[in-house]
Symmetry: C2
Subunit: 151 residues, 2 copies
């Protein structure tokens, strides 16, 4: 499977995983807090946390020795999922909330203003959208696709 | 469930759905093409397409009457998922591909350059990241959270 989109979804495209990430970006670190805020059962939460740890998206740390207590923190790989969570939030706020005010509002601490982040082009810094973008497929992926299409 | 992130994931956080969206952004419109390119079974593909149609993310159109043939097109709600797909691609390219060149490269047609889109602040247009953002929770969501935490 050449496509990195498909593999990324395999890793984080799950309701519970996304809710865990949301809570961690909001500052939660402890199992019981994550459990109450996501509404996941202990079994599901523990299974998802183990998977995220195995994928190096978060680390589990001992913060108290007696009694032994752990907390969870995002790694750089985990923190780098922020644009995915923000993109889902932006879409959900726009299309699923029918005129209600969004449950979470973002402020850009650098400028101090309320913000609705958008995608910008790394070359010219102007906004970029599906209609102003063109996708070029790598030779390896093109080969896979031609084979799939029987060409 | 107040959170729009969780509801958005319910709708598109599925490997097959994401692959269908990827293919539609790459220009595929026909069932057989989508089936070959995603590798989904006809049953799975048909089920996902029906769900996306019910959610108004795509429309199914008759393009030939004899024999009857349909194709699928993204609605505005569907096209608006582009930032989600791009965010997943960016993360996957960076963290899952270990130095390989990305399977899909994007060009910004407005400026003509190869681009790696990033999130910019709608107020100051500078880049925004998790560390330079602050989340404010709405009163309704805060109430839900306080109840979940038993406070």
């Amino acid at each position: 499977m050449t496509c990195s989109i498909a593999r990324a979804v395999e890793m984080v495209g799950d309701r519970w995983t996304e809710m865990i990430l949301r809570e961690m970006f909001l500052g939660s670190r402890r199992f019981d807090e994550l459990q109450r805020l996501t509404g996941a059962s202990p079994h599901i939460l523990s299974q998802r946390l183990k998977r995220l740890e195995a994928e190096d998206i978060l680390t589990r740390n001992l913060y108290s020795e007696r009694p032994p207590r752990h907390d969870y923190r995002l790694t750089e790989k985990g923190r780098d999922l922020w644009p995915v969570v923000v993109a889902l939030k932006t879409w959900g706020d726009r299309w699923l909330d029918e005129g209600k005010s969004p449950p979470i509002t973002l402020t850009h601490t650098t400028c101090g203003k309320t913000t609705e982040p958008y995608l910008a082009c790394s070359a010219c810094h102007e906004p970029i959208q599906a209609v102003t973008s063109k996708a070029t497929i790598s030779p390896d992926m093109a080969k896979e696709r031609a084979a799939a299409l029987g060409r």
